[in-house]
Amino acid sequence: MQKDFHYYATYCAATLAGYDHEESLAISYSDQMADWCTVTFLESIGAPTSAATTQMQLELMKVRTDPIGLQDITRIWSSFHFLPGNLEADPGKGGRRYREKYRLICDTNGPLVAKTVELAKGRGPQAVGLAMHVVADTWAHRYFAGTPSLAINNTNRHFYEVIEGQPDRQITFGHVPGAADDLENGTYNGTIYQASERSIMNLGHGRAGHFPDYSFAKYRYLPAWADYEEVLKDNPSDYYQAFCQVVYALRYLHGDVATFECDRYDYDIVAPYKDEINAIINERVLENNEGWKRLGEKLSGHDIEDFDMHAHEDEYKSAPADNRDGTFLGRYILAALAQKSMVTHEIFASGNRLAGRSIEYQKGGFAGIRDYLGLVNYRKEASDK
């Protein structure tokens, strides 16, 4: 998903869930920050680089794709943008390597969605926002995996946009860096075909460019893992579902719902705004910030400031080193480390080595990357609460 959903729509959802304006802003900022918190950004503020929640194109260009590099890539993308739907899925074919990649395919309402939401309970708006980013992305990014794999993430010329009242239109993916997607003619940018299985071009939905992130997009295509079966992806419907699930999750985190269960949606609360939301989602624009912003300001009665990734930098940089965890970005960083640690552990515990090793420090004591030492107290604080 893009800023229109991660920032403005999340603000709307938070307001509907009962958060006030300031809390909603903090939640939506943290949600959108997951798409900006790179190693480059963290280095610039002197923060632990293990907390990176994304990788920019320039970083991906020089990233290693040896086993260590691949594990690092997989940890980031699977933890924050392509949450695996079923770590026990049976592909019905292929050896161990294929099975491990197949099991990383993102899908909605998997066990990890519940764990992600529960991990954010009692953690503050930073963790809440980050969790909502992960939950929302399971809807837009389903059927792609957060690990470089041609066998899982490739697409081909069988890619058609379904537009109401018109014959299905074949989508053409070009490879012109920086060129804007052309909605009128159905020409979009995607990564170039690379026959190498582990090429970075085959990460996530890169082969389909930004197209899966457009809320208006309804399309059918042949995922590489689906053995020539066609999949219909209905983003307008999925985005509405995502919004209703995010509202439900936020109500749980706000304390209005006792437990979080997958596959539950707050349709009733959203119902009065259903037509307005569907109009925003179905509008054929690359990013509908204005629509969601308008709705958010109507719901809260406050102006929504534009997203500024540098908004909390000064607080973090000027804080003493032993007090940084208490700053806004400090709490966000801890939330990111916790999420990455949880997902990596779940993948490792399922017997899958694509995200690397994971050590349970509660059982065996802390042994691992120093950045994660703060999580030892993070978990303790949650259980004390």
Binding site: N86, D90, G92, H158, D227, Y228, E229, E230, L232
Partner: protein
């Protein structure tokens, strides 16, 4: 239409797409092999052209026989090339959903028979040749010819399956 991440029986549409994709890929391979066959004949001519020219230059009965043999070889090469082109282009077109006539299947069968003959010649050659360098050449040729035979077999099988699942003919 599959929307869950669990293995299930393939649908008829999926099998049809798989066969079409097979035809498109193999058709492209057959075209490449046709180019390879042409290169092979040209290389053979360049290697043995001096001996052939001397033999033809002698004139008389021997020269006429050699010329005839040369003509047959050139004809065979062109025939093989034409078969490759017909089969390759038609398979690619059928792989993209355009129904082609049965002629290209007949050509594919002819090409397969010819390739099978080449494979047999490679085997006999391997047994007959003693020079290790020549043996290696024959082994390499044999691998290519065998691969080509497998490709043609796959192409014919995919076409038959498609014809069976989509009996109506449209061009």
């Amino acid at each position: 239409m599959q929307t869950t991440l669990s293995a299930s029986q393939p649908t008829t549409e999926a099998l049809t797409r798989r066969d079409r994709d097979t035809l498109y890929v193999i058709g492209t391979g057959i075209l490449a092999l046709g180019a390879w066959a042409l290169v092979k004949y040209v290389m053979m001519y360049l290697r043995y052209s001096q001996q052939l020219t001397e033999a033809i230059g002698k004139g008389g009965e021997d020269g006429a026989v050699v010329s005839a043999v040369l003509g047959i070889i050139v004809g065979l090469a062109l025939f093989e090339l034409v078969l490759h082109v017909i089969v390759g282009l038609s398979a690619r077109a059928e792989g993209q959903g355009k129904r082609k006539g049965f002629l290209y299947v007949v050509c594919a069968v002819l090409l397969a028979m010819l390739t099978f003959a080449y494979v047999c010649l490679d085997v006999f050659g391997l047994l007959a040749i003693e020079e290790i360098g020549d043996k290696i050449d024959v082994i390499i040729e044999g691998i290519i010819d065998f691969t080509s035979l497998m490709m043609l077999g796959g192409l014919i099988a995919a076409t038959m399956r498609l014809r069976k699942s989509e009996p109506e003919s449209k061009e």
